[in-house]
Structure formats: structure tokens, C-alpha cells
Symmetry: C2
Subunit: 225 residues, 2 copies
């Protein structure tokens, strides 16, 4: 059991505001009470309200429009995660969970990918692979390009953006772990292999291949199973 976090006045005002918005089913574009009205109703100082509103503005939940005043807005669901993705401050367990999450997502994606793949998507993936075959080693950007295309072909935009956000974390952690030559992969699965399975194989084959393809991120590291 962990001690309950002690809430500051700003925390409480922020929580109350979010509850108020949801209880009243405010929708993006709806006008909201202004800072002064909120301060009067909650009987707190305007400084505290301003801080709480600034937090919600950061999350994209509210906006201020010229002549319209403060309105409800449509937040970016990934905005909050994006801001804390600093590998120096996230705990080891969280980093491990994120690494694993990627593997789980890309294996779970197989069914959706086979259901939604199009000739156009396959052609674009082929072009990426053709270009990458000529390279000696792949950069972080090459990895994002290939795997990002897979996510794009899945049709799930939130997932695609999530993957792009996470990539620098994978890259940082992977680069900062000493490699053990004993763990060198014997028969690595390449992007070309994955492409061929996506063209002519089955979801099950794709899942197995993705597992092997991503395994260098796991084996011989602190993140090994």
C-alpha cells in the first residue's frame, strides 16, 4: 500500500472542473464559465483557478477563442503521455512494460492487418523495403518508416501516433544497454521477410515473425523474458 497523494488546492480545483465538465456533458465548442465565475463559485482565488485552467489548456481540454471566451475543446488523447516520455524519469518497470506493449500490439495487429491490407499499402511497403535493402544498417528513422507503415495499414491512427511517440524511448533504452555478443541473432527476421509474409502468409506466421523480429530488443537485456 502506498500513501495517498496529498492534494493541493490547485489539484482539487482541477479535479472539480473535470468532473463538472463531464457531469454536464459539455461538448467541444460549448462555452464555459470564465475564470472569475469559477473562482467565485468555488470560493478560491483567481490565481488557483488560473493554474488549474492552464493544466486543462495544456491537455487540450479547453481553449480560449477571440470574442467567444473559453470553450470546451477536443483533447489529443496522447498529449499527456507524450509529455512524460523521458527515459531518465520513467521507472524501469514502466520502460519494461512499454517495450512489451509494443510486442503485444504488433502481434495483436496481425488479424487487423491481414483484413485491411490493400494493394496500395503493400506497394508502399515494398518501396520502403527496396530502399532499405541497399543500406548497411537501419537508422531509427528507417525503423519508424517500416513499422509506422504497418500501423498506418492497420487504419488505427491513434495506434500509429502512439508508436511514433514511443520509438525514441525504444531507441534510447536499446542503445544504452551493453550488447552481449553471445546473444547475436542467428537467423534474424528482416523487414523483407515480414513484407513477404504479409503478402503471401497467414496472421499466425506474421505474429511468429514479428516476435522474432523484435526479440533483439528483449533477449540479453534487462528486459529479457
Amino acid at each position: 500500500m502506498k500513501p495517498l497523494p496529498s492534494l493541493s488546492l490547485t489539484d482539487r480545483v482541477e479535479n472539480k472542473l473535470r468532473e463538472f465538465f463531464e457531469e454536464h456533458a459539455f461538448k467541444p465548442g460549448d462555452p464555459l464559465p470564465n475564470e472569475m465565475e469559477i473562482a467565485e463559485n468555488m470560493q478560491v482565488s483567481r490565481n488557483v483557478v488560473r493554474e488549474a485552467l492552464s493544466r486543462l489548456r495544456m491537455l487540450g481540454m479547453i481553449e480560449t477563442r477571440p470574442r467567444k471566451g473559453m470553450i470546451m475543446a477536443r483533447p489529443d488523447i496522447l498529449g499527456g503521455i507524450e509529455r512524460v516520455l523521458n527515459p531518465y524519469i520513467l521507472g524501469k518497470n514502466t520502460l519494461k512494460d512499454i517495450f512489451e506493449l509494443r510486442l503485444i500490439l504488433e502481434m495483436g495487429l496481425a488479424e487487423v492487418l491481414f483484413e485491411r491490407k490493400t494493394a496500395k499499402g503493400i506497394k508502399e511497403l515494398e518501396e520502403i523495403v527496396e530502399r532499405q535493402i541497399k543500406m548497411k544498417s537501419l537508422t531509427k528513422e528507417d525503423e519508424i518508416e517500416f513499422h509506422g507503415k504497418l500501423y498506418e495499414m492497420s487504419g488505427n491512427e491513434t495506434l500509429r501516433r502512439f508508436q511514433i511517440l514511443l520509438f525514441p524511448i525504444f531507441d534510447h533504452v536499446y542503445k544504452n544497454i551493453p550488447k552481449d555478443p553471445k546473444n547475436k541473432i542467428q537467423d534474424p527476421i528482416t523487414h523483407k521477410d515480414l513484407l513477404n509474409i504479409l503478402k503471401n502468409g497467414t496472421p499466425q506466421e506474421f505474429r511468429t515473425a514479428i516476435y522474432k523480429h523484435l526479440s533483439p530488443y528483449f533477449t540479453g537485456t534487462v528486459f529479457s523474458y
Copy 2:
């Protein structure tokens, strides 16, 4: 193409602070410059700095400790997402992506689950199923209990918490869509079926069953494939 968001002074100070923390590789517990020092260095007012710091405090990136002053902290990676999970303000496409994300996660979980299942975990899942069999219909809490146990058995705590956060959204959206009796599921997959497959089946069987089990959330709704 969308217009670039215009950044306020507070946005810019917030961004600069996060960059500064990461560039200097501050770790949780490290002392940070105080509000006055930051304001002087950045040549902005203390009010603006206070607002920016309040945002980072909300995300759990910084804390103020008695006698130690402001220190770097370990944020909760899900804190930002948790705050914006209001079904009235998230866009229809984002809600669709989240619904699908759940399906992808639970299918992708199969390999990990079969690798890590323990006698203790199976026994706990059996107890949940036994209790639920006696009920006429399952509540949201029952669903969280069963699926939450699966996530728990996967050993990925971040995923488990993520699922608990998302559940009220599934529940809200599902309840608010008119059901079409034509779409009534003929041979629904129950929690007991999933348990039996986890005990005696294969990851592939589990994946297929999870797909069918979750399909009522998709078929005959705005989220149908």
C-alpha cells in the same frame, strides 16, 4: 494540413523546461532550480513560470518536498490519458481507435498469457468465473474483474492499469448505442469458455475466442468493421 497551434508564453516555458530536464538527464530525486531562478534565466514573469510548473506537477514530473525544495519526480505514464478520458469530448475516430485497441491488445496478449499463466492465476480466474456463472447478467465491474485478471496474469502492470482506465469509456459508448436485435450473438463466447481455452487450449484458439467474445462491442454499432 492543419494550422500549427499558436503557442502561448506558458506553452513555450513548459516546453523549454521539459527539454532542459531531458537534456541534462535529471533523474527522480534530483534538485531543480526554483521558480525565481527559472524566471530570471528565461526572462519571463514568475506567474508564467508558476503556471508552467503547475502543469508539470500535474503530470507528476516534479514535486516540492519540505526542506528539499523542488525535485525531479517519477511521473505516472498514464496520468495525462486518465484526465482526458471523457467520452463527451473525445472524437468519434479516437473512440473507435480505443475500442479497436482493446481488441488488438487482448489478441496480442495471448502468447504472453500462455507463457506466464500460473496455477495460482488460473485458480483465481476460476473463482471469478464460478461467482459470475450464478449471475443473470454481468455488470461493468464483473467485466473489469475478469479481463483485469487476464491483464494481471500477463504481468504487465501498465497494461492492466490502462485497461481499467479505458473500461468506463467502453461501457459508456456501448450503453449509448441503440442495440439492433438482428445483431444478437448466436453462440456467444463466455468467460468460462475463455478460461477453459486458457487452461487447455492454444494461443491461436484463445485469440479467436477473444475476438468473438468482444465482437458485441463492434457488430451492429457505429464501430462495426
